[in-house]
């Protein structure tokens, strides 16, 4: 049981980090970022290139991946989402754009990095073995701790920095924030860049453990969607809660339901449907987002 909980915590920390980026973008711009999974894969590949091909330390790879993804995110917001939001009649058009970007990133990843599965060698050796109740490699623990540290840093940033306050104001009410002198365009761009950066960071973290390949983008996006549905879209605490809940459910499900075959996600989805029927806005979401 302890093993299951530890696995769940470890998974949940990463999931929460993915969901945070998605929910940040959603709350600021009302855009459902389909390309989030692709951004995550991109970050993983950048880290791989820096660490394995250039031979730099892992932490440098993480920084480079965060930086590149932030730039990509800012460019996407500035040159793609902003004009489309301004021009279209229905705001759902942004979904089409997001899907187009997802395809585009897929193509770019394919051309630059190829379709092979890539991984970074372990950054730390050894396995923690606590009386055979919890067995966990040290690198996983390190990644989990790093992920939790980043979540804390992100929350602190959103709570106490000027940019964070501006973004929270924007998420609450765009017009009111603008009237109070928040530069809406600028902070939308920063927010999008930050969301993309988080995706890149998770990609960089996970490439050390699970490796990365081209096909991981779509499923990752789907998991992230599930998380923010559990927690409530556009709410930071909801994204974190959703991430940890999904991580736990996956960890428990994989152990308990293993005898019935591969049905963990079926069960998770069925319970999600029942949950949403009772509480459509998720755990902490505002009604109707």
């Amino acid at each position: 049981m302890e093993q299951i909980l530890a696995n769940g915590l470890y998974l949940g920390a990463q999931y929460a980090l993915i969901a945070l980026g998605l929910t940040l973008i959603f709350s600021l711009m009302n855009v459902l970022n389909f390309a989030h999974g692709q951004m995550y894969v991109f970050g993983g590949f950048v880290t791989y290139t820096v660490v394995v091909q250039w031979g730099l330390p892992f932490i440098a790879g993480l920084f480079v991946s965060a930086f590149i993804l932030a730039v990509i995110g800012a460019l996407i917001e500035r040159f793609l989402f902003r004009p489309v939001i301004r021009k279209s009649h229905r705001e759902e058009s942004t979904m089409l754009l997001a899907a187009g970007i997802a395809f585009f990133l897929d193509a770019v990843i394919l051309l630059i990095f190829g379709e092979k599965q890539r991984g970074v060698p372990k950054i730390m050796d050894g396995v923690l073995n606590w009386d055979f109740r919890i067995i966990m490699p040290y690198d996983r623990i390190l990644i989990g701790v790093l992920a939790i540290g980043m979540i804390v840093a992100f929350i602190l940033f959103m709570q106490y920095s000027k940019a964070g306050r501006a973004m929270r104001a924007l998420a609450q009410d765009r017009v009111a924030a603008q009237l109070m002198g928040v530069e809406v365009d600028r902070y939308s761009m920063i927010g999008f860049a930050l969301g993309a950066m988080l995706a890149g960071l998770v990609g960089g973290l996970l490439v050390t453990i699970t490796g990365i390949n081209l096909g991981m983008g779509g499923p990752t996006s789907i998991k992230a969607f599930m998380m923010i549905m559990i927690g409530g879209a556009g709410v930071i605490s909801g994204a974190i809660a959703g991430g940890f809940i999904l991580g736990m459910m996956e960890s428990i499900g994989l152990t308990v339901l293993a005898i019935y075959g591969d049905i963990t996600y079926l069960v998770i989805f069925a319970s999600l449907m029942i949950f949403l029927a009772i509480r459509p806005q998720g755990l902490m979401g505002k009604p109707w987002g």
Partner: protein, 325 residues
């Protein structure tokens, strides 16, 4: 006006049923039959998605119903030996019933929430197809026989496909006819009382509920019709490919159905048809670009959205008097 419309329909029928086969026979590009058949079937599924857009919901779950419909047809034909032509409506009805069951809870969601749930639904249907015993797991159901003869009172309506010399042409014609029927139904729905009520849902759900529209009922009806289309398209696909796997319809397909609607234009009944044609043909034509195919395709897609965020049919030449937001 009516004569003009009738003329347009006849012209369209002539084009797809006579001119296109003639052109293909002339040029010898038999592979286009498969492309066009796919386009017409995919546009049926997209028509369903379009209908959910019409009640103001973003549906990214059509792949789930196409897959379910395909499996229903495959199981009925291969295990119970039922005539394929009967399984088309049966698959549609099965999907409609399933969508009522699924739709009742999730149609309470709106906007992005509904979109996300339906997207997850596609993935779940794939997992279900992998896990359920009747679907034969990842191996799928293969070597499904070609459609049998359909006769009414001894009069052959559709001949047995295995006796035909040119099954490609036969499948093409069937699919096109099916597409025309589906779009006619869709057009009738949109221009009926039901369609007007749906439009009120799209604009403001609370308001229409407050003046006595049964919104919950309407939503489920529209969603089940939409899924019916999905099931029909899926079952026809099974007949053509003679096989079905859990990966036959995936998340990408669901997203593509949605893109078709967006691209054609959400305010126009025939938007999804045009969108499917453009997207599918564009993808196929770019095949010559080799490894740059996806790059060019997605770049064009993004450019198209930037230039025409409200769909192809929103271009000036198509709507001189229609100005609906």
């Amino acid at each position: 006006m009516n004569i003009k419309k009738l003329f347009g329909v006849i012209l369209f029928l002539l084009l797809v049923l006579v001119v296109v086969p003639w052109l293909i026979a002339k040029s010898g590009r038999w592979d286009f039959y498969y492309t066009l058949t796919s386009v017409s079937l995919l546009s049926i599924a997209s028509a369903g998605v379009w209908l959910t857009f019409y009640i103001g919901r973003i549906n990214i779950g059509q792949g789930a119903y196409a897959l379910a419909g395909g499996y229903v047809a495959a199981v009925l034909v291969s295990k119970y030996g039922i005539n394929f032509w009967l399984t088309i409506p049966l698959a549609g009805l099965f999907c409609a019933a399933l969508s009522v069951l699924i739709g009742l809870p999730i149609l309470r969601l709106r906007g992005v929430y509904f979109a996300m749930v339906t997207l997850v639904l596609t993935e779940v249907m794939r997992l279900a197809a992998l896990a359920l015993p009747v679907t034969n797991g990842a191996k799928g159901i293969t070597s499904i026989p070609l459609p049998q003869e359909l006769s009414v009172f001894g009069f052959t309506v559709i001949p047995d496909f295995s006796t035909l010399a040119n099954t490609k042409l036969a499948f093409y014609l069937t699919s096109v006819v099916l597409m025309v029927i589906c779009y006619f139904v869709l057009w009738r729905i949109v221009n009926s009382r039901l369609g007007h009520l749906c439009r009120s849902l799209q604009q403001n759900e609370e308001l229409s509920a407050s003046i006595g529209v049964n919104t919950a009922y309407l939503r489920v009806i529209a969603y089940s019709i939409s899924s019916f289309f999905g099931g029909v398209a899926g079952s026809m696909f099974v007949a053509i490919s003679q096989s079905i796997y859990p990966s036959s319809f995936q998340v990408t397909d669901s997203v593509n159905f949605m893109l078709n609607c967006f691209l054609g234009g959400l305010g126009y009944v025939f938007g999804p048809m045009l969108g499917t044609l453009v997207l599918y043909f564009g993808w196929d034509l770019l095949f010559t670009a080799g490894r740059y195919q996806l790059l060019i395709y997605s770049t064009l897609l993004i450019a198209l959205i930037l230039l025409l965020p409200n769909g192809i049919l929103s271009m000036g030449i198509f709507n001189r008097k229609k100005t609906r937001s």
